[in-house]
Amino acid sequence: MGLTCHKLTLLTLGALTIQILGLSLFVLGFFPVKPALSGVSGPESFQAPGCDSFENSSDSVSQDLPPHRLKSLYQELSGIPPLFDRLILMVIDGLPAEFVLGKDGQPPRKDLMEAMPYTQSLLSKGNAIGYHAKAAPPTVTMPRLKAMVSGAIGGFLDVAFNFNTQALLDDNLLGQLFRIGWKMVMLGDETWLKLFPGLFMRHDGVSSFYVGSPLAFDVKDTVQVDQNVSRHLDEELSRDDWNLLILHYLGLDHVGHIGGRNSFLMIPKLMEMDEVVKTIHLNALQSQENGRQTLLVVVSDHGMTENGNHGGSSYEETDSLALFIGLKNGMSNYASTAHYSVNQVDIAPTLALLLGVPVPKNNVGVVISKTFGSLKDEKWLRVLELNAWQLLRLVQAQLPGLSCGSFPCDGSTIDLGSRSEECNGSPEKVLCCLYRNAALLHSAWKSIKVSRSTSGNDYSNTVAAYYQFMETASEWLSRRVTDVCISFSTSIDFTIGNDYFALQKPVGLLAFGVVAMVLSCLVLLGLLNCISGEVCPGRWCLDDAFILGTVMILVMSMGSSSMVEEEQYIWHFFLSTSYLLLLRRTVQSLPAGSVLSSFKLFKRQKERSDFRVLSIFLLLIAGRILRGWHQGGVNWTHLPDISKWLEQAGNDTVRSIQVASGILVICLGLFALVLFGSRRNIIQMVGFCLLNCGLLVLWHIVEYQGNAIASSSSGATLLAQRIYVILGITSGGIVLALPWFITDGMKSSNSRRVDSQNNFVLLPFRDSSYVIGLAYVLCWCLLQLLLQQPINSVPIFLLLIQILAILLLFSSCGLQFKEWVEVALLYYMGMAGHFALGNSNTLATVDVAGAFIGLSSHSTLLSGILMFIITYASPMLFLLSMVMYVSVKSTAYLAAEKNADSGHLLKVMLGLPCLVPLGLNSILLTAYTIVLLLMRNHLFVWSVFSPKYLYVCAASVCTYIGVLAVAATEVYAYFILVLRRKISVSVSNGVG
């Protein structure tokens, strides 16, 4: 009969281990960890690369010197006096640059202009200069803040650590300023405190999760978060003891999350921001009279879509603002041209050079030209040179061995003539050549200047050459961070050269990872084939082909970015088709007769087929509602759906629906339990425990949810924690205790079957796994009712209905589906439910707010687990329902397998419910890995394919956990029952 149970388990575990190994290798290889240079820029950054007078001792130099000495050293080395000695960095979270600067050369909308009169007047008078600062995706706060202060573009995985705000250890602007003795004050988003612990002299942090959930953001809250920032503003402005003041206003982002770009709260919020700008600017003007040069920089970390979301890479989201106010360049002529576009990372080098500190080491930004308008030509070229040197150092760190010719270190001119070459060839050569051109032009300019024959032409040529080099280098470096293809191709190139060992790693990792995944996938499929041939022989029919075709089409659709974006359509379409196939199958098995008699079947309760038809209709209706609940996807999110409609109806409606569906979930669960057998004590116990949990969850909903203040109160947190504990104890207790106590009352009801030894075990096994499965499913549903957004409570209820309906359908023997088809269908339903709960393949739909329910302190691990629970609610629910499914199906083995041994029985019962999800998941995972590798040059690789890959990985984790839980539960229950049987036999023998 082929495989034994042990062998099967070992092979499966082996395949899974290989798969996990391959997956982690691939992830490590594909998502490059940011190639950061360690250490900080010191005095050496004022010398050309390769001139080593400070290079070796940079750390000691910069550490040993007291701040004021270091400051003067920098000033002396750079030759540029710092232009400002105070900086006020005002971060307005989520403000699209369009609101201030307009779009495509057009001024912003009139009401927006009127909302910010002071800022607009500054712009039109030329006192301020504004830029569209293009933010790199992911457009969420922390990576963007990091980009602004360090000039580096984070790797893709940075977003995963967005909520794990840890100290920024790389070289950054704030660290540099701290080193030269600047005193800093921070008011606003707590993220800054987490990024820069201990740097601020004074601070007043506001958590960006000030309230429980985004739905609970209310009008008061959007005002409150900003009042908490502004309340100290006047006091701080009147003080004179700080050099850097950071203000981070969260309110505008919250306004966007509540009502989108055109929220009625937006104009008042902009007016408020304008007031702040006015206050600061007037104060800065005043302090200027006292000899303090203050620069006000207003930036936003990212923009927002029409709906107020952010995270992706659309123009609306990446269009962030950089507004420099108080530059001393009297550039009234720039008033009309305040629509330049720069990159967000350009802010870092600009500020660094304006304030007289070295450019951070990992910066890929290019200094913004117009901000240095007041500098003389010579100084300006020096600024460009410093930035170019820093970029060249970074390029050299990326390409070890790159040398662009030697330049004298003492700044003396080299006489090579000012000829510049055409630059083409490999990227390295181009970069080198561009740099050489710029350096040559610069030195030529210097020599000409010495001979007093300055011409404007040479100067502008030099500037252009520097910019050409820096922009190319910047683009190359930022692509290199975010794009695997470059590192991929160069690593192949380098396999020929000397640096074989240094750079071959990614290719090896990727290849090994993919091979391991393919291998494990093949092993799992082979096992699946083996088992399914054993358990459900029979010839192929339409349903089998359909299920397989689904997988095929899914795999194929993964190659198209729009199909990945709109994946929910595929699942829903497949699922409704498979329900129709189920219906067809049911109609096939209906007794022959006329149409009329078949309609009569609905009324006759005796027939088994009537509840089959009924449950299929339930499935169809529930599926349709689930599908309409959230529009989902990316391109058509604005279309109406049920959840939007309900949210418009108001908070009270949503809450009453939430309470109602909570009650319905409890009732339905208890009904399913009562249906099973209400008279037994153990069942009553279980029912009581579950009811208890349900009432606690309802209490939490009624008392605390839907109310911003209450939901973040300590009472709510405590109750939520209690619910977690009680749900855990209930489900764990039922699993552990039930197999010990289940048999009572069993023998009387099924006495006619007590003929085979197996039935002594199988009957209680069936009962206990039914009750355990139901307890699992119910506990999970209750947990979701607690954690999910209020609007998602009805889908949870519908998913429960679907589970019960499909199990009812499968329990009838008339439908001769193969078992693997049924398990695959359950898996598909889980995936469709995943999208019905409002998830999509972009990271923006992850419900972050729910992940803080019941957490009293910020814990990355716990909130990560909660986030996982919320996101994978539906797949996990259906995997847990596998326990019930095993129970439903084990009835069939009662008759068939009279005297088989435990191993065989377990294999037959558990083999498919465990292997099919694993096999399907491994197909999808492997296929998607290959797709991702093929798509590495695709335009959307970071915005569409990579987020989807993270989802696929998380779904794999979900499948592993779910299958493990199912297998462990069933094996435990089975062996406890066998043990009890042995004990009772030996006791009766002893008595006899």
Binding site: E565, Q588, S598
Partner: protein
């Protein structure tokens, strides 16, 4: 209908007219013409296409196609001696509202965005689909549950006539099913709207499967008679 049921019980295996391959070809030609002609007529005369006004174009198609189907297939009705031609025609017309009750929920389940603006389109599309799928069957079989079950649940057509009904019906369904695939893609073409590409898919599926069914008719011309004997 009740009468019919009684008659069915009296005579469980009613005789059906046998269909020769040339006749089948002719029937399919007429039906295919009934499908394609309204499309080209609307396009040329009223400059209406599915894209510009899917609702009225669909209406025209299903009206013409239903009339053609009923007129043609009623002449192949089961046990013609008990069921007159006008009666079969009536049966086919009666089938439309009955069948639409099944088609419309199906289309809601499968494709449609809920909304009033799609109501007319969906109803017309349902009628269109039922004119392709169920009207011929209704004209031929009436309300005989066994035949319907055999045709649409088991997909076991028996004899040339049943091939001619069953295969195009399934072809239309499969074509419509496949036609729904481009809908979620972001090509931003006008034909990606509901129900345009689904209709095109159904038409294509229908036309392809009529050819396939001709093949079956040619390949198994005698099967019915053998069974009948």
């Amino acid at each position: 209908m009740k009468e019919e049921k009684k008659q069915k019980k009296k005579e469980p295996k009613p005789a059906t007219r046998s269909v020769s391959p040339p006749l089948a070809f002719l029937v399919h030609l007429v039906c295919g013409f009934g499908l394609v002609a309204p499309l080209s007529v609307t396009h040329n005369l009223f400059s209406l296409t599915l894209i510009s006004d899917s609702s009225s174009t669909l209406r025209l198609i299903w009206v013409v196609e239903t009339v053609v189907m009923i007129l043609v297939y009623s002449s192949f009705r089961q046990n013609p001696e008990q069921c007159s031609y006008p009666r079969a025609v009536g049966r086919g017309i009666l089938a439309l509202p009955v069948v639409i009750a099944g088609c419309r929920p199906t289309s809601i389940m499968m494709y449609e965005v809920i909304g009033m603006q799609y109501l007319a389109k969906t109803i017309n599309w349902s009628l269109f689909m039922s004119s392709l799928m169920f009207v011929p069957a209704a004209s031929v079989f009436g309300s005989s549950w066994t035949d319907w079950q055999r045709m649409f649940a088991h997909t076991k057509p028996n004899g040339a006539l049943e091939y001619m009904i069953c295969i195009p019906a399934h072809g239309a369904v499969i074509g419509g099913w496949l036609g729904a695939w481009p809908m979620p893609l972001d090509w931003e073409r006008p034909w990606q709207e509901w129900p345009i590409c689904v209709t095109y898919g159904a038409i294509m599926g229908y036309l392809v499967s009529t050819i396939a069914s001709l093949g079956f008719v040619v390949a198994h011309p005698r099967r019915h008679r053998l069974k009948g004997d």
